[in-house]
């Protein structure tokens, strides 16, 4: 038999439930701008009914479960997309440094210096007997060598910068995996006690978000709310612990190892993947193109030059114009610098003969590179273009992936994000319900008073 007290009780359950809902709303509003926060809500459930003479009678409301709203499929998609964005962004940054080092097209890039160098030989061929023309050849040769040195050292510098970048990324990754693992332990505990640890899951997912930009991750659900995170096939974080990644430079390659494994972990994507790709493949490729250009220039110029004669007395022959073998050590032979008359413009030792200077000037049109298909300037130009194309491709990937990520963010936010309008609506709704329940208490109170007065 239901009495006034039962009415009071159901009103009380309503007050408690609405208050809890107000608290959750307040928490949602408070965390509206918290990164990684998933909005929470209280599930209301009707309290068990009791049988009366008139049928089953409800006994109020129970707040059942405070839970975060999230869509794990979107999370997985997000983690799958952020690594290629991270990789492209890193590549763009590093390659832009190479681009700046190459500095083309400009009036003082290596191409232009190379043009001036060949022009100097042309000028020499027109005036093989003029010391001004000879000095100019030496000067342009030195400028060209300097140009090679500075580009080579800038590119090498960007490459060596990557090493420290990799170190700090690994530190970051290891911190993240250890955090993820700690959080997973707590999440699994909470789950075993029948609670939804929404805040912990939020924190962990945020860490995985960050991690997924650094390196390509594979996340699988363990069924108890915790996850297993693996990188390049190696398990790096789970509720049973984290495995630290370490790097090792073997030869000219940076390799990443998981824990005590002796097999390097294949990391092909993410910011770390971008760094590795640049350090291990892209930049060495660029350096070898640059060195090939310098080397071809040195050997071709020297071969022609050594066969010619200077205009000193007696005319010297067999002198190399350049010394060195690569972009880092190319230099104008000091003998030539000291005595520009040793520049071999002549094929027979007469001062007016310019056959060798002509051949040297014409070297720029000789297909001596790439199996006899490209001239030296063409080879260099295609190297420059390849740097540009790589940056272009990285930029495109990065902006496309950014769009994908934005889209996923929007989807995620559409499920998990806090909407102030919605919270305000809820607030009003819960407020009204709370006020109504209070009114019920008031009314019951009055009834009680009436009843008591009646008894007196």
């Amino acid at each position: 038999m239901a009495g006034l007290n039962d009415v009071m009780n159901s009103a009380r359950s309503a007050l408690i439930a609405q208050q809890l809902a107000l608290e959750v709303t307040s928490n949602n509003v408070a965390n509206a701008n918290t990164q990684g926060y998933s909005r929470q809500r209280v599930d209301f459930e009707e309290s068990p009914s009791v049988p009366t003479n008139y049928g089953l009678l409800g006994t109020g409301v129970t707040a059942d479960n405070i839970g975060g709203l999230r869509d794990s499929m979107i999370d997985q998609q997000f983690w799958g997309a952020s690594d290629s964005n991270g990789m492209a962004t890193t590549q763009e940054t590093i390659l832009s440094q190479v681009e700046a080092a190459v500095n083309e097209p400009s009036d003082n890039g290596l191409s232009e210096t190379m043009n001036s160098f060949f022009s100097a030989f042309q000028s020499l061929s027109a005036q093989p007997d003029q010391s001004a023309a000879r000095n100019n050849v030496v000067q342009q040769g030195q400028l060209l060598a300097q140009s090679f040195h500075s580009i080579q050292s800038s590119i090498a510098q960007s490459q060596s910068n990557i090493v420290s970048d990799v170190q700090s990324q690994l530190a970051n990754i290891n911190q993240l995996t250890s955090d993820i693992s700690n959080l997973d332990v707590k999440i699994a505990n909470a789950t075993s006690q029948g609670m939804q640890a929404s805040d912990l899951v939020d924190q962990r997912d945020l860490k995985i978000d960050t991690l997924s930009g650094l390196v390509k991750v594979n996340v699988s659900d363990e069924g108890d709310g915790s996850v297993m995170v693996s990188v390049g096939g190696a398990l790096v974080a789970s509720k049973s612990g984290a495995v630290a990644l370490t790097s090792n430079i073997t030869g000219s390659q940076i390799q990443i190892f998981a824990g005590s494994s002796t097999q390097p972990t294949q990391i092909t994507s993410g910011e770390l993947g971008g760094d590795l790709q640049c350090y291990n493949t892209t930049i060495p490729g660029y350096l070898s193109s640059l060195n090939a250009t310098a080397n071809a220039l040195i050997t071709q110029v020297n071969t022609l030059h050594a066969a010619g004669y200077g205009i000193d007395t007696p005319p010297t022959t067999g002198v190399d114009f350049f010394t060195g073998t690569s972009a880092s050590d190319i230099n104008v032979n000091s003998a030539v610098v000291n005595d520009p008359n040793e520049i071999a413009a002549s094929s027979d030792g007469t001062a007016g003969d310019n056959q060798v200077a002509l051949a040297l000037a014409n070297l720029q049109n000789q297909p001596v590179m790439n199996g006899g298909t490209q001239t030296i300037p063409q080879y260099y130009a295609s190297f420059v273009s390849s740097v540009g194309s790589a940056i272009d491709a990285a930029q495109n990937t990065s902006s496309n992936q950014q769009l994908v990520i934005n889209q996923l963010q929007t989807q995620r936010s559409s499920v998990s994000g806090v909407s102030i309008d919605e919270e305000m609506t809820n607030l009003t709704m819960f407020q009204n319900a709370y006020q109504a329940a209070s009114e019920v208490v008031n009314v019951v109170d009055e009834l009680m008073q009436t009843l008591i007065t009646m008894v007196q």
């Binding site: 509206a32 701008n33 390659l95 832009s96 681009e99 083309e104 097209p105 191409s111 232009e112 190379m114 043009n115 001036s116 060949f118 022009s119 042309q122 000028s123 061929s125 027109a126 005036q127 093989p128 007997d129 003029q130 002549s346 027979d348 007469t350 001062a351 007016g352 003969d353 310019n354 002509l358 000037a361 014409n362 720029q364 049109n365 300037p377 063409q378 260099y380 130009a381 420059v384 273009s385 390849s386 740097v387 540009g388 194309s389 940056i391 272009d392 950014q402 934005n406 963010q409 929007t410 936010s413 559409s414 499920v415 994000g417 909407s419 102030i420 919605e422 305000m424 609506t425 009003t428």
Partner: protein, 298 residues
């Protein structure tokens, strides 16, 4: 779809950023006047630009070579026409001296005149232009002809007075720019003839008709050489015109690849600025609007 404040805010920021990025790129294009400022702006065009720049650089060098060659060819031509005048004077002297009825004094006078012509001729044959001997073949730093101190003989540079100097004046074109001493003066033959005539006159003999005929032949030879020098000049002048036409064409091609279309970029930039303003103003009105603005205000 459920839309939250944070997604409105981030999409607003993304769009503003995209527009700003475009405006920055357009501004750079306008400020530098170039559409390709970095390789990555247009990797393909960069390849072409570098090639065009190399062609332009060559062309500029060819122009310079041509100008220098022109000055040498001009010096050659003028030296040779002066030499022709000497030969004509020599011919005149021979015509008078072979008359037969000359006093020994007259003969001596003619001999002195021939001797002078010889000196002038050797000087002309040793003409220097820009510090080099233009008739020395490829031995440009050694004096090609030496007149003995007693004027008794003329010797040619033992290292040779032959060899052609070829200057690159256009892609694949090497123009011979010199007339060597052998071609111009038949080695020392002309000077030897002068010496023979002078010595004969000095010893009271009249020059022979064979000598007079030789002078005529040599005049033709020098005239031929002068003609060659003139042809070189003509070639160089024609080449110079061709080079400057090519230069204009190359610059145009480079401009097409490299320069920004100012009108188009300005137009695009205006459009983007308009977009930016629209985004900002709509953002300013949308972003602060929530239910809060209206709750409790009634």
């Amino acid at each position: 779809m459920r839309v939250t404040e944070s997604s409105i805010a981030s999409s607003f920021l993304y769009n503003i950023n995209e527009t700003n990025e475009r405006i920055t790129q357009e501004q750079t294009e306008l400020a530098t006047g170039k559409a390709v400022n970095k390789v990555s702006d247009n990797p393909q065009a960069t390849g072409t630009i570098l090639q065009l720049k190399s062609l332009i650089s060559n062309n500029t060098q060819y122009q310079q070579n041509t100008t220098e060659a022109q000055s040498q060819a001009q010096a050659t031509e003028s030296a040779l026409s002066s030499f022709t005048n000497i030969m004509i004077s020599l011919k005149g002297i021979l015509a008078q001296a072979t008359n037969g009825t000359l006093s020994s004094e007259d003969q001596q006078t003619y001999a002195d005149q021939v001797d002078q012509l010889l000196g002038q001729g050797v000087d002309l044959a040793n003409t220097q232009s820009n510090g080099v001997y233009i008739f020395g073949g490829t031995n440009t730093l050694q004096q090609p002809f030496t007149l003995a101190a007693d004027d008794s003989s003329v010797t040619a540079n033992p290292n040779g007075i032959t060899g052609s100097i070829q200057v690159p004046v256009n892609e694949g074109i090497n123009q011979t720019v010199n007339i060597d001493g052998q071609q111009a003066f038949q080695g020392t033959a002309i000077f030897n003839l002068m010496i023979q005539v002078r010595d004969a006159l000095q010893s009271g003999q009249s020059p022979t008709t064979a000598q007079a005929t030789s002078v005529d032949t040599y005049i033709d030879d020098v005239a031929n050489a002068t003609g060659k020098a003139g042809a070189i000049m003509q070639n160089l002048t024609a080449n110079s015109t061709m080079l400057s036409n090519q230069q204009t064409q190359l610059q145009q091609l480079l401009s097409v690849q490299q320069d920004s279309d100012v009108a188009a970029v300005t137009l695009k930039m205006n459009q983007d600025q308009l977009d930016l303003q629209a985004a900002l103003s709509s953002g300013a009105s949308v972003l602060p609007a929530t239910l809060l603005n209206f709750l409790g205000k009634t």
